[in-house]
Structures are given as structure tokens and as C-alpha cells.
């Protein structure tokens, strides 16, 4: 079994396309860490992958979901979206659902992305197949970006009024605000498209 270790930091959708690309070449995901992924050699196009953002869910919800997916015959792996290393942590997630608002390590912190693997059925591997379901899923991702943006927005307003004099600092703040706003635009656009479809067809 040949192993490849790949160093990669990428956004959610790109990770999915990259995993499927590796699977079509004949590499099955074995282990996944924050930066490094280990693959093992298998026959080409044997497996398909799908990624899901599960951070808004609570620990119990994620466990039940993973149990359900395993019962369907899918294999699941978890990946972190954070670039830090810690042993204990507790964090407030305003976009979380009920108990999903508190993320702890050990717990749901560090396990935000769920990578689901199944045997190739020559059909696209989609976890959310109805338009309403897709809309809800993308809303949760958009809300995560929106919560960061809103918090940063208020902090930057406070900062500009307190230390406002330097123009260079203001430009940096505005540039960062724009960068944080771009994912929100992207996901809102996808939500709008799916909403249009959902209104016209089922």
C-alpha cells in the first residue's frame, strides 16, 4: 500500500473536488489531520467523497448523524477547519443550533468538517438532494461567515472611533471587511439560486 502525504489548506468545496480527483486516480483517504492527508493506493474510481459542514450541530446530533451514515454503509472521517493546536478549548458559536452553540475540545471543536466516503455508484454523491435541504445547509455555512463578519464589523467600528487617526490602519480594516464579506456573497448567491428553484419546482 503506497502512502502519499499531501499538505493542503483549502475551502470546503475545493476539498471535496480534490478528494474525488484523488479517488479517481486510485487513492483512498486513510487519515486526515489539520494539514496532512494520508492516502492509500486502491483501484481507480472505486470511491466517492462528499464533505459536509457540521459545526452548527451539537455533539449528540453529530454522533447520531454519523451513526446513521455508517448504517448506510458510508465511512466517515472528521477534519478541523482550524489551524491551531490545543488540548482543551471552549468556544461560543453564535450560528450553532441549540447546544451546537458551545464547541468544546474534546467534543465538537476540531471536527467541523465531515468527510463521507462510499463505493462509487457512477452517480454524483450528494448528501442533500432536495432544494429546501440544500438551502438550509448553505444557510448554516453562510451564517458561520456572517457571525465572524458581524463581530469583526463592530470591533472595527469601535477601533476606528477609538484609534481613528491613521488612514493606513483604516484601509487595512476595510480591506479585511471586504475579504470577510466575499464568502457571504458567494453563499447567499447559491442560496438565492436554490430558493428560485425551490419555488418553481420540487
Amino acid at each position: 500500500m503506497k502512502k502519499i502525504i499531501s499538505f493542503r489548506i483549502s475551502l470546503l468545496l475545493m476539498q471535496e473536488t480534490w478528494l474525488n480527483k484523488m479517488a479517481s486516480k486510485g487513492y483512498r483517504l486513510n487519515k486526515v489531520g489539520t494539514f496532512l492527508c494520508t492516502f492509500e493506493k486502491c483501484s481507480p474510481k472505486k470511491y466517492q467523497y462528499c464533505t459536509e459542514f457540521v459545526a452548527p450541530k451539537s455533539f449528540k446530533d453529530i454522533q447520531e448523524y454519523v451513526t446513521f451514515l455508517n448504517e448506510l454503509g458510508y465511512r466517515t472521517l472528521t477534519k478541523s477547519i482550524n489551524l491551531n493546536y490545543c488540548i482543551f478549548k471552549i468556544r461560543w458559536r453564535p450560528y450553532g443550533q441549540k447546544f451546537g452553540q458551545i464547541a468544546t475540545k474534546p467534543g465538537t471543536y476540531g471536527k467541523e468538517i465531515l468527510i463521507v466516503e462510499r463505493e462509487n455508484t457512477n452517480q454524483p454523491f450528494i448528501l442533500h438532494s432536495t432544494y429546501h435541504d440544500k438551502v438550509n445547509y448553505y444557510k448554516s455555512i453562510r451564517n458561520s461567515w456572517l457571525s465572524i463578519f458581524i463581530l469583526y464589523f463592530f470591533i472595527s467600528i469601535w477601533y476606528t472611533f477609538t484609534y481613528a487617526t491613521n488612514l493606513e490602519k483604516n484601509v487595512c480594516i476595510i480591506v479585511l471587511l471586504i475579504i470577510l464579506f466575499l464568502p457571504i456573497l458567494f453563499y447567499q448567491n447559491t442560496i438565492n439560486q436554490y430558493n428560485k428553484h425551490a419555488d418553481m419546482e420540487e
Binding site: P56, T67, F68, E71, S129, T130, H132, M200, E201, E202
Partner: protein, 135 residues
């Protein structure tokens, strides 16, 4: 099966997934309808997916995430219930079965669809309005 465009449905939040089924008029989404139909006999998740794909000749393919949300929603509404199969040696797989309430929902959906079929039949093949008959 005749396809209808549902509008102005009430939403029911079961777990994290919203399933738009209008309980007042009994209009079900295709997802709810087919899951309820499939659970006449006890089934686990994979069997439900296979049943729906076979029944619709591949037209409706449920994703795992959608199925999970739909099952939780139907459980919350009381239309399906977990089933403890004494013959099930593979105890990891949870099975579900339709409840009496779910059967009544299907019965109402059947009556609703029947009335719509009648109206559509009159439109297509009878063609005369009551006003025209009186004139």
C-alpha cells in the same frame, strides 16, 4: 404520477431540517410521501433509499442528509416510529415503521389527489362548464 406545484405551505421545524408539508390541506412533499409509503413494512435507512429509487425508476434519489432530516421530522410529527425487530441480528441498523397517524395522512393525501384527478379529468375530457350547459 401527476406533478403539482405546491405553494404557501406551512413549515414544521423537526430537528434542524424543515419539511414543508401543509397539514391543513394534506399536501405532502414527495420526500415525505415516499418515505411513508416505503415504511408500510419495517425498513432501515438504506432499504428506504432503495425502495424509493426502485418505485420511481430512478426519478427520485434521496441523499443521505435529506433522508436523515426527513426521518427525524416524520418521527417528531409522529407519522413514523422506531421498530424493534426481534429477528434483526444486525442490531446497529435502526428500523422504522409507519404509525396509524401516518396511515391517516396517506389516506387524506389519496383523497386529495383523487379529487384533483377528477377535476383534471373533467378539464381534459369533459370540457363543459356549468355556465355553458345552462346557456
Amino acid at each position: 404520477m401527476i406533478y403539482f406545484n405546491y405553494t404557501k405551505r406551512n413549515t414544521f421545524r423537526g430537528g434542524e431540517i424543515i419539511l414543508k408539508d401543509c397539514v391543513k390541506s394534506g399536501a405532502l412533499t414527495e420526500v415525505s410521501f415516499f418515505i411513508l409509503i416505503s415504511l408500510k413494512t419495517p425498513k432501515h435507512g438504506y432499504a428506504i433509499m432503495q425502495f424509493i429509487e426502485a418505485k420511481t425508476n430512478g426519478r427520485v434519489i434521496l441523499g443521505a442528509g435529506t433522508l436523515y432530516g426527513a426521518l427525524n421530522s416524520l418521527l417528531a410529527k409522529g407519522w413514523i416510529t422506531p421498530y424493534n425487530n426481534p429477528n434483526n441480528h444486525n442490531t446497529r441498523r435502526k428500523e422504522y415503521i409507519i404509525t396509524e397517524k401516518g396511515i391517516n395522512i396517506i389516506r387524506r393525501e389519496f383523497e386529495r389527489l383523487n379529487s384533483l384527478v377528477e377535476i383534471a379529468y373533467n378539464f381534459l375530457f369533459e370540457g363543459n362548464d356549468d355556465n355553458e350547459k345552462n346557456n
